[in-house]
C-alpha cells in the first residue's frame, strides 16, 4: 500500500483481533455478526410454539413425536457489519502542536479499522464532512474498495468550520439498516447539537464509537510567553498571555471534555478521548478488546 497512514506491521499484529459489534447487525449477507432475525445458521437459538403462518419446514418433528406438540426450532442468524467512518475535516482538525495533526491521527485510526473490517468480511464506508463539503464513500466488503477508501481519506484537506452535526444526522437518516458508526473528531461544536445528533444515531439503533481527538498542547496549554492565537477555522485572532489565563482555559476545556463524554454516554456511544501522541497500537488493541463479547475475552 502506498498510503503513509497505513502501517502494515501494525495491521498484521492486529489482524487476529476481530471487530465486534455491540448490537445485532442486519446485513445482506452472512457474516460473523449476530442478526436480530432468526436464521438458518448452525447456532441453536430457542424453541417456540407453532403459530399459524409459520413455515412448516421449520417444525421439529422429533419434538412433535415425543410430545405431540408443534414446536418451531429457531437458530441464530449471522450477518455482516456495515461500518461508516465519519471524519471531521474542519480546520481545527489540522492543528498540530508539536507532533502529529489531529486529521493525520484520524486517518490512521480510520484506515486501520477499515482494513480490519474488510479483512473480516465486513463493509466499510467513509464520510468526510466540513461545513461546505460532505464527501462520502459508500460501504463495501470488496477488497478493491479499500483503495478508494484510502485515496479519499488521503485527499482530505481540513478547512473551514465543522459539518459534523449535519453529517451525523444525514448518516442516521440515510442508512436504513443498523450500522457501526465511527466518529473521528475533536467535537469543537455545540454540545447540545452534538447530543441531538448522537441521540438520532442511537434512535436508529446504530452502534456508535466516538474517537475524541485532542492535541497534547491543547490539553496542557503550557507556553512561556504571550502568543497571538489565530483560529484555524475562521481566522479570528487573539493576543493573550497563556500563563495568566491557563486556569480559566483548563476549566473551560475540562467542562467541554466532561460534557462531551457525558453526551456520548447518554447516547450509548463508545467514547474514547485520545491525544495525538498516544501510540496507535495499544489504543486500537484496547478499543477492539473492549468491544469483544465477554465470553471471548
Amino acid at each position: 500500500m502506498k498510503h503513509d497512514f497505513i502501517d502494515n506491521e501494525l495491521l498484521s499484529r492486529l489482524g487476529s483481533l476481530p471487530i465486534e459489534s455491540r448490537v445485532p447487525m442486519m446485513g445482506n449477507v452472512a457474516g460473523k455478526h449476530r442478526s436480530p432475525h432468526r436464521g438458518s445458521s448452525v447456532e441453536f437459538a430457542e424453541y417456540r410454539k407453532y403459530v399459524a403462518g409459520d413455515d412448516t419446514r421449520r417444525l421439529d418433528w422429533k419434538v412433535y413425536a415425543r410430545s405431540d406438540r408443534f414446536y418451531i426450532k429457531e437458530f441464530e442468524a449471522d450477518t455482516n457489519l456495515r461500518a461508516y467512518f465519519v471524519v471531521d475535516a474542519s480546520g481545527s482538525m489540522n492543528f498540530s502542536g508539536e507532533g502529529e495533526s489531529k486529521i493525520s491521527y484520524a486517518r490512521k485510526i480510520a484506515a486501520s479499522l477499515a482494513y480490519l473490517l474488510v479483512n473480516q468480511g465486513d463493509a466499510a464506508g467513509l464520510s468526510v464532512c466540513t461545513d461546505k463539503l460532505h464527501l462520502e464513500v459508500p460501504p463495501s466488503r470488496r477488497a478493491a474498495h479499500l483503495e478508494r477508501f484510502f485515496t479519499t481519506l488521503g485527499q482530505v484537506e481540513p478547512s473551514g468550520e465543522t459539518g459534523l452535526i449535519d453529517a451525523l444526522h444525514t448518516i442516521a437518516e440515510k442508512i436504513g439498516q443498523r450500522a457501526f458508526v465511527v466518529i473521528l473528531s475533536d467535537f469543537f461544536t455545540d454540545s447540545a447539537e452534538l447530543s441531538d445528533a448522537l441521540q438520532h444515531l442511537r434512535y436508529r439503533k446504530h452502534d456508535v464509537a466516538a474517537f475524541h481527538l485532542m492535541d497534547p498542547q491543547e490539553i496542557g496549554f503550557e507556553f512561556d510567553r504571550p502568543h497571538r492565537f489565530v483560529d484555524l477555522e475562521d481566522g479570528t485572532a487573539l493576543v493573550a498571555e497563556p500563563n495568566l489565563i491557563a486556569e480559566e482555559y483548563k476549566e473551560a476545556l475540562h467542562e467541554f471534555l466532561t460534557t462531551t463524554k457525558a453526551k456520548c454516554h447518554d447516547a450509548a456511544a463508545d467514547y474514547q478521548l485520545v491525544t495525538t501522541d498516544t501510540p496507535l497500537e495499544p489504543l486500537l488493541r484496547e478499543f477492539l478488546t473492549a468491544r469483544l463479547p465477554k465470553s471471548k475475552h
Binding site: 484555524l232 477555522e233 489565563i245
Partner: protein, 659 residues
C-alpha cells in the same frame, strides 16, 4: 522626608522598567494557529477582570519594590512631622553648630559637615513646604530669621568659625524664642555630637526641657548628626607659651584623626614675626606633645606668629596663633621663718645662674605686704594663714596664682579656706616614709617632655604631715597617705607637700623632687602672664577685639586679613597684641554616646538622624532606610505570591470512556 543622598533619586526612573518590559514583552508575541479557540475566548472573557487586576498588582509590586530600593539607597531621614506622621510645620528653629570641629570634611573630596548639613536642611525645608526658618547659630546665639532655605549656605551666620558650641545654652535660647509662638514648631539640632559642645551633665538641659514642656504645643526635637567617618586630619594646638629671655618656648600638641595608624611625618611651619621656618615632625600614634623653641631677635619687645600644618580634612584646626610680650623675670616668694627649709626653698626657686628667676624670703608676719599679683608663685612653709593674710592669699590664688604649702610641724587649728594639716607623724625607728606612686602625666611630678621621670623613690622621710581637706592626691606614701595634693581654685592652684626640706624631716632638699616641683610651680604661675596674650575665640576676653581699635594683623589666611569676631587670628591695638585660637575642646574627639544624648534630651522625645550611622554607637542612627529595605522584600514577596501559578484543578484528562 529628607534624603541624604538625593542624587540616588534619579534611580526612581527605574521604577517604570517593569511596565516598559511588560509592554515590550506584549509586543513581541508569537503567532500560533490554534484550534481550541472557543475555550481561549471563554477563558479570556472570564479572566479579564481578575487578570487585569492581578497584572496591575504584579506590576505595581515590581515598580514599588524598585522605588523602595532606590529610596533606601538615597538614605531617607524622616521625622514624625516630615514623614508619614503627617501635619504641617509652621516654624523650624535650626540650632546650628558652627564650631571648628564642624569644618571636618565627611571624606576626602567631600564638603565639610557644616556645609553638608546646611544642604540637607535646605532640602528638607523645601520638602516641608518652606515653613518659617529661624537660625540660632552657636557663634552668635542670636535668633535670626532666614528668608529662604536656599540662601542658608550663603549667609554669614552659617559660615565657618573657630568657636566652640554650647548646646544647652542654644536650646534654652530656642525655648525662649518659641515661648510666645502658637503654631507647630520643630527644633533641629545640627551637630557633630562632639561631647564638649553638648555638656550632657549640664543643668541647663533640665531648664531647657522644662521650658519646652511648658509650651502649649511642645515642639519636636530632631538631632541631625553628622558624626561618623571623616577625611584624614591633623590638628595643631598651642598648649603653652613662655618667653624666657630672647627665647620663646611653645608647647604644642599635634593630633591625628582617630582612624590614623602608624607613624607619619608632618611638616610643621612656624611663622614668628614674619620669619618662616618649616621642620618635619615625626608623629607616632594619634598625638604628640612637643616643645618648639624660637630664638627671638635681641631687644624684641613683643611680637606674634603662628604654627601651622598643611591643609587637610579640617582647615580650621591647622593653625595655632601666638603673641608675646617683653621678657619678664619670674618672681617668687618664700614665706618661712629663717632656717634650713627656707634656704632650700629659696635655692630651688632661684638657683644660682638663673638670672631670670628672682625670689625673696619673708616671714609669715610680713607676707601680707609681700603678696602681689606679679609674683609667679609663693612657697608657703609656715602655719596656714588667717586674718588679712589669709584673705590676701586667697585673692592671690583665685586670680591665678600658684601657692605651694609646706607643713610646719604643728597640727592646724584654724584651716585656710577648707584645708589644713594633720598632726605630725614620725616614721618607725630605722624606717622611712617612702613614696609609693605619683602622677606621671599631670602635676608637679609629671614626667618631662622627653619622658624622663622624677626620681621620686629617692625621697626618704622620717617625719611628715598629711594634707586634710577636699584635695586631689598627686603623690602617695607607701601606706597610701597623700604626700602631695592639689586643689584648683578658680584660676589658681594650691599645692600641699607633706614634708619639708629639712634634715629633721626628709631629704627633700636634695633636689630630686623639690627643684623640678618648685620650678614647675613657678613656670605654671608665670604662664598666666604670657597667657594674657592668648585667648580662645568666643571667650569674654576675646570680645575686646570687636572694638574698632583692634585690627587683625596676621597674614595666615590672606595677605589682607579680615577681622572676624569668630575666627582665630592675631589682633593688635595700640601696641598690644592678642592671639585668638579655637578653644582646646574643639580638638577633642570624644563623641556623645547614646546614653549621654538621652540624658541631655531625656524629656523631649527627640529623634536622632545620623548620616553616617556611626555616632559612637551604631544604634544611635535612625534606620529609616531599613524600613524601605523591608518594604522591598515585602513587595517582592507579594509579587512572587501573585506570580505563583495556581495549582490547576483540571490537569488530569477525563478517563477514557472505554477504559
Amino acid at each position: 522626608m529628607l534624603f541624604l543622598s538625593p542624587f540616588f533619586l534619579w534611580g526612581l526612573l527605574a521604577a517604570s522598567a517593569p511596565v516598559v518590559i511588560h509592554l515590550i514583552n506584549k509586543r513581541r508575541h508569537k503567532t500560533l494557529q490554534w484550534a481550541a479557540m472557543q475555550f481561549l475566548l471563554k477563558a479570556t472573557r472570564e479572566s479579564r477582570g481578575k487578570r487585569k487586576l492581578r497584572n496591575i498588582l504584579i506590576l505595581t509590586c515590581r515598580a514599588l519594590a524598585i522605588a523602595a530600593l532606590v529610596a533606601a539607597a538615597a538614605k531617607p531621614i524622616v521625622s514624625g512631622m516630615m514623614g508619614w506622621g503627617g501635619g504641617s510645620i509652621d516654624t523650624v528653629v535650626l540650632l546650628l553648630d558652627r564650631s571648628a570641629s564642624m569644618e571636618l570634611r565627611a571624606g576626602d573630596g567631600l564638603k565639610s559637615r557644616r556645609e553638608l548639613i546646611l544642604e540637607k536642611v535646605s532640602g528638607a525645608m523645601s520638602s516641608l513646604g518652606d515653613p518659617r526658618l529661624v537660625l540660632i547659630d552657636s557663634a552668635s546665639m542670636e535668633p535670626q530669621e532666614v528668608p529662604s532655605p536656599d540662601v542658608l549656605g550663603q549667609i554669614s551666620a552659617t559660615s565657618a568659625t573657630d568657636t566652640a558650641a554650647d548646646f544647652p545654652a542654644m536650646l534654652n535660647r530656642a525655648a525662649e524664642f518659641l515661648a510666645g509662638s502658637t503654631g507647630r514648631s520643630e527644633i533641629w539640632l545640627a551637630s557633630d555630637l562632639q561631647a564638649s559642645n553638648w555638656k550632657p551633665n549640664d543643668e541647663r538641659w533640665i531648664a531647657a526641657q522644662a521650658s519646652l514642656s511648658a509650651m502649649a504645643k511642645t515642639p519636636s526635637v530632631r538631632v541631625l548628626s553628622l558624626s561618623g567617618s571623616t577625611a584624614s586630619n591633623t590638628s595643631v594646638r598651642l598648649e603653652q607659651i613662655r618667653r624666657s629671655g630672647d627665647e620663646l618656648v611653645l608647647q604644642l600638641e599635634l593630633m591625628r584623626s582617630g582612624a590614623a595608624r602608624g607613624t607619619t611625618t608632618v611638616p610643621l611651619t612656624t611663622n614668628a614675626n614674619g620669619v618662616k621656618t618649616t621642620e618635619n615632625i615625626s608623629l607616632p600614634g594619634q598625638s604628640i606633645t612637643l616643645q618648639k623653641r624660637i630664638a627671638l631677635p635681641a631687644g624684641l619687645e613683643s611680637g606674634y606668629g603662628w604654627v601651622s600644618v598643611p591643609a587637610d580634612g579640617n582647615l580650621r584646626d591647622n593653625v595655632a596663633f601666638f603673641a608675646f610680650g617683653p621678657a619678664r623675670s619670674r618672681e617668687s616668694l618664700v614665706v618661712s621663718e629663717v632656717g634650713e627649709s627656707a634656704d632650700y626653698l629659696e635655692l630651688s626657686a632661684a638657683p644660682t645662674g638663673m638670672e631670670n628667676l628672682q625670689t625673696s624670703v619673708v616671714s609669715p608676719a610680713q607676707a601680707v605686704n609681700s603678696i602681689a599679683p606679679n609674683i609667679a608663685a609663693i612657697l608657703w612653709a609656715a602655719p596656714l594663714p588667717n586674718g588679712r593674710t589669709a584673705e590676701s592669699l586667697e585673692q592671690y590664688i583665685r586670680s591665678g596664682g600658684h601657692v605651694m604649702f609646706f607643713p610646719n610641724g604643728k597640727k592646724t587649728t584654724s584651716p585656710f579656706m577648707d584645708f589644713s594639716w594633720s598632726g605630725p607623724q614620725e616614721s618607725p625607728k630605722g624606717q622611712f616614709f617612702i613614696l609609693k606612686d605619683w602622677s606621671r602625666v599631670d602635676g608637679l611630678m609629671r614626667d618631662g617632655v622627653d619622658g624622663t621621670s622624677i626620681a621620686g623613690k629617692k625621697l626618704l622621710a622620717i617625719r611628715r604631715q598629711m594634707p586634710v581637706g577636699d584635695l586631689t592626691p598627686m603623690a602617695r606614701w607607701e601606706d597610701g597617705e597623700p604626700m602631695m595634693t592639689r586643689r584648683i581654685i578658680d584660676r589658681g592652684t594650691a599645692w600641699m607637700v607633706g614634708s619639708i626640706p629639712d634634715y629633721k624631716w626628709s631629704n627633700l632638699g636634695d633636689g630630686d623632687i623639690l627643684l623640678p616641683a618648685v620650678q614647675r610651680v613657678i613656670a605654671q604661675g608665670a604662664d598666666r602672664f604670657d597667657r594674657s596674650y592668648l585667648t580662645p575665640v568666643g571667650s569674654e576676653s576675646s570680645m575686646v577685639t570687636r572694638l574698632e581699635s583692634w585690627s587683625r594683623v596676621d597674614t595666615y589666611e590672606d595677605a589682607m586679613p579680615v577681622k572676624s569676631l569668630h575666627k582665630s587670628g592675631v589682633y593688635e591695638s595700640g601696641g598690644q597684641v592678642l592671639a585668638l585660637n579655637r578653644p582646646a575642646d574643639e580638638d577633642s574627639i570624644e563623641v556623645l554616646t547614646r546614653d549621654e544624648l538621652n540624658l541631655a534630651l531625656n524629656d523631649t522625645s527627640y529623634t536622632l538622624f545620623d548620616q553616617a550611622g556611626k555616632a559612637d554607637e551604631g544604634s544611635l542612627s535612625k534606620d529609616v532606610w531599613r524600613a524601605f529595605i523591608i518594604a522591598v522584600l515585602l513587595f517582592f514577596l507579594a509579587e512572587a505570591l501573585l506570580c505563583l501559578p495556581k495549582k490547576s484543578r483540571f490537569d488530569a484528562m477525563p478517563a477514557r470512556a472505554g477504559a
